[in-house]
Every structure is written in C-alpha cells, then in structure tokens.
C-alpha cells in the first residue's frame, strides 16, 4: 500500500501535469510506488521518490506546450511579429548609425533645449510658447536664448535665430556667422553639404546659390552640428522676429544648473499668469540624445497596450497564464516595432518633428490602437493548448430557450484539444471544454 503522504505528493504534482495525460501519468506513478512499497522500501525512500513526480510533471507540461507552440503558433503570427520587431530594431540601429549623436558645440555642458511635457506616457513636445521665451529673455534668467524652426525642403533647411550659433559657441569654419541685420536670404551651409554640393570651394562665400528652389546668399559654413542635423539639416537661414518658431535652445548662465534654471523659468511663468506653461515647461540638456525619450515613449505605449490587452483578455476569463502571456508578448512586440519605426522615421525625415509633430503623434497612437485590436482579435478564438485557430463553427442551443439551453457557437480545435463555446447572448459567458485523449482518434487526420 502506498503511504498517504506519497499519494498526496503525487496528487499535488498531478495538477502540474497536462490534463489530457494526467490520469495515465498518475496511474503510472502510483503503480511504481506501490511496487516499491511492496518490496519493503522505507517511507522516507518512497517519499523521496514521490517528490520526483513534481519534476516529471513539470517536464511533461513544459514539453507539451513547447512542442505545440513549435508545431503551430511560432510558425505563424508570433514569428511574423518577432520578425517585424527584429527588423524594426535593425532599422533603428541602422538609422542611428547613420545619424550618430555628434555635438561639437563648445558650450555643450551649458546648453539645453526647451520642451513642453505632455502628461501622457512621458511624451515631450518641442513646441514652446512665444510669450514664455520673450519673458525668459526679458527676465535674463538665461545667458542666451535662440529660437529655430525647420523649413523642410530638399536639402533640408532650418531657420535659426541670428544668435543661434553664438549661443552654441560654434564658430564658422568659413566666412562668418549670422548678424542681427542679415536679410532672410542669407544662408549658412552645413559643412557636409558644402563639401558635397560645392566640393569645399571657399569662393562660395558671398555668392548666390539656388538651394531648395530659392536663391540664397551664402555667408558662411558651419560645422555639422548633429543635434539640429538629427533631421539632417544642411542649410541654415535667419528666422525673422515675427516668424513663428517651433523650438528654442538655451545657454545657461555660468554656475547655474538645469534644475535651477528650470525652477526660475517656472517661477517667472507663474508670476505672469502662464500657469499652464509653468507646469509643463522643461529644460532638457542638449547633449541628451532625443532618441532616449523616444525609447521611453515607445516602451510606455507598448506597456500600456499590453496592460490594456491583458485586462481585456482576463476580463473575458479565457485561457491560462501562457495564453495571456503570449498575448502580452505579441502586443509588446508589435507596438514596440511600430514605435521603433516611428522613432527611426522621425530621425531620418527632415522637419517631420516640427509642424506635423502632433499630427504624427496622434496618427501613431491611432495606428497603435488599431494594430493592438488586430492582434487581440487574432489571439482570440485560438486553442488554449496549441494556439491553432479554432475551426468548424457549429450553432448549438436553442434561441427559444435562452435560459436553459443557451444558444452558443461551438468551435473545435483542429487537433482535438478542446472546444470553445462562444455565447451568442448577453446573459451567457464563453467557456472551454477540454477533450481528453479518447477524442484524438477523430482528429488524427488533422495532425497528419
């Protein structure tokens, strides 16, 4: 007779074993323990052997799931999503390699850019209020403030304040920088553009050249400054004081820190009734790679999608831990891949971050929602064991008897792991029926 303690251990381990194999598995273990007990083995020895049943059951469970997944699920949607995710990573890495963070400004430790934080998943918007900038200039909180906006075009043109390169501390490699009285058609060329378009010809200074469909007078060549050239800006022209700008960089006073300057800006904004801006304005060090924020944003969106998808799936009370974990993984992969593409595109395309930034932001969020819904829908009505799509819908129940024989649609797993009954009425819930080994014969042809 098998001691009760051993029976209890095997019974507990049986919960881990796959349901379809549980009875057979338990029978084998109890038979083995019985024979061992009959041969006069002490209880301690039997108990030690019985503990091994946990490992056996766990192996069975893991192996069955792994085999099923390998057979079906990974070959279809998840593999596609994984590929998409890896391609997105590759794309981001390549775009990052072509766009390395090079910031040659001498004043770099004291340079910051204005950002307006959006209280949603940590997103940052580079657009700042003109009133705030004029206020900061007037109060002399910062040593210098220079505005900019991207004008787009091919090659990409940016309009910058006349003091932009002075604030950054960047000296022109040829010619001169901007002056306050420079006309709007004055232009500073990026060094790389000067090299490729004008073959490093020093005589371009003072000449007129047709750039992006407009005639500009070239006044100098500036070193490639990567933060602004994240969208690969090639030409800089002066921004007029009346022109709307989209962002600003700040040069901190010597001895001042970013935190203290930000505190002062917020204090002054509050004093001048710019409360909404006072709560949102942020100074971000210019040396901080903007892609870091993008990554945080991508992970925020992906995690939010996962939480939402899981909550939705759990609320429907369908499937086990693995089922939900896979849904979470699929959502994360797809949303992170989308975010990765967005970040890479933002950094590759000139000017896109500027006037259309908010538009792209919302389009991206809508795209995320739509894709998340598609993934969740795809994950729905799959077998809880092998994740194959359920087939053979059959209406069961009676519409004339919505209480005692509720109308449902029954879907079968093609390998016969179980049946999913999807309720057709509001007062009923979906439920899953496990089919044991005895049903497998019926489905043998599907497996072959």
């Amino acid at each position: 007779m098998v001691p009760r303690s051993c029976q209890f251990v095997v019974a507990a381990a049986a919960w881990i074993a796959p349901r379809a194999k549980r009875a057979d598995w338990k029978r084998e273990w109890l038979a083995e323990l019985w024979h061992r007990a009959e041969s006069g083995a002490p209880v301690e020895d039997l108990l030690r052997c019985a503990w091994g049943s946990f490992r056996d059951a766990a192996w069975l469970r893991a192996n069955e799931r792994a085999r099923n997944l390998e057979d079906s699920f990974f070959h279809k949607p998840l593999r596609l999503e994984l590929t998409l995710f890896l391609l997105a990573g590759l794309f981001c890495a390549i775009s990052g390699a072509f766009n390395p963070s090079r910031l040659p400004y001498p004043n770099m430790p004291r340079l910051a850019r204005f950002q307006r934080g959006i209280p949603f998943l940590g997103a940052l918007e580079p657009i700042v209020d003109a009133k705030l900038i004029s206020l900061v200039k007037r109060e002399r909180i910062l040593q210098d403030v220079a505005t900019y906006r991207f004008a787009g075009g091919v090659p990409p043109v940016a309009r910058v304040g006349w003091n932009f390169f002075d604030a950054a501390g960047a000296k022109p490699v040829l010619g001169r920088g901007f002056r306050e009285d420079d006309p709007e058609d004055a232009a500073l060329l990026g060094q790389a553009y000067w090299r490729t378009r004008f073959h490093s010809d020093p005589s371009v200074i003072g000449r007129k050249a047709d750039i992006a469909g407009r005639a500009y007078t070239i006044v100098g060549v500036v070193p490639d400054a990567s933060w602004l050239s994240v969208p690969r800006t090639c030409v800089f022209t002066p921004i007029s004081p009346l022109m709307k700008f989209s962002g600003a960089i700040a040069l901190l006073r010597p001895g001042s820190t970013i935190a203290s300057a930000q505190r002062d800006i917020r204090r002054v904004a509050r004093q001048h009734e710019l409360r909404w801006m006072a709560d949102a304005v942020e100074l971000v060090p210019l040396w901080e790679d903007p892609r870091k924020r993008d990554l945080e944003f991508i992970f925020g969106v992906a995690l939010a999608g996962v939480v939402f998808g899981l909550a939705f799936s759990l609320a429907r009370r369908m499937g086990g831990m693995l089922y939900h974990s896979l849904l979470a993984a699929r959502l994360f992969l797809v949303l992170a891949a989308l975010g990765g593409y967005r970040a890479a595109v933002l950094h590759l395309l000139p000017g896109i971050r500027d006037p259309l930034w908010l538009f792209h932001f919302w389009v991206f969020l809508l795209l995320c929602c739509a894709t998340g819904c598609l993934v969740a829908r795809d994950h729905d009505r799959r077998c809880l064991v092998c994740f194959r799509r359920m087939r053979m819908p059959a209406p069961i129940g009676l519409w004339s008897s919505c209480i005692f024989d509720q109308p449902t649609t029954e879907y079968m797993c093609p390998l016969g792991h179980g049946a999913l009954c999807v309720a057709e009425t509001e007062n009923a819930e979906d439920y899953w029926i496990d089919l044991d080994e005895s049903w497998r014969e019926l489905f043998a042809h599907s497996e072959a």
Partner: protein
Amino acid sequence: VPPVTSLSYASASILLTISSGYRYGFDVMDITGLPSGTVYPALRRLEQSGLVSSKWEKESVALKDQRPARKYYAITRAGEVSLDAAVQRYPLLERLLPSLPRKPKA
C-alpha cells in the same frame, strides 16, 4: 538503418539499463542511482524520440495478482542503434555493461 540520436550520459545509462531487461522506472532508478525526478523525464524524452516504447500491462494480469498494472518500457531498434553509438562515446558505459545483471523478462 534508423538515425543515431545523440544521448546524454544519464539518458544513455537509462537506455542501457532498459536494454538489460529492467523495464520499470523504479528499477532503472535502483540500477543507475539516478533520482526519480531525473529518470522519469528522461524516459519520456526517450519515448518521444522513439528510442524506447512503453506499454501498459494487461489489467487482467494485474488483477489476477491483486496489484496495480505497471507500465513497461522496452528499447526500440532506433534505441539500440543510439545506444551502440553512446557506448562508443562513453567508455565508462562499456565497462558498466558486462557488470549489469541481466534481468529475466517479466
């Protein structure tokens, strides 16, 4: 000729024990000295790879002897081929082989 499956030392020793006529999991444990948590998963893996086959004892036989039916494991042709390869790979198994007492068939 069935393909040769590479075996770990533990799997090879279990396969060797089964080929010597020890056909129950606990017998294999006694001979190899491996714990039950190692022997049973290894047996399942060997069965999955087609190196051993399992068969339940007839209920009538077990009932006649008033004991629960046991599951018998037997080495297959593919298992024998893999075992031959494993014996060459692990010289210690070769030394163990002659010392293993042959068990009469149940």
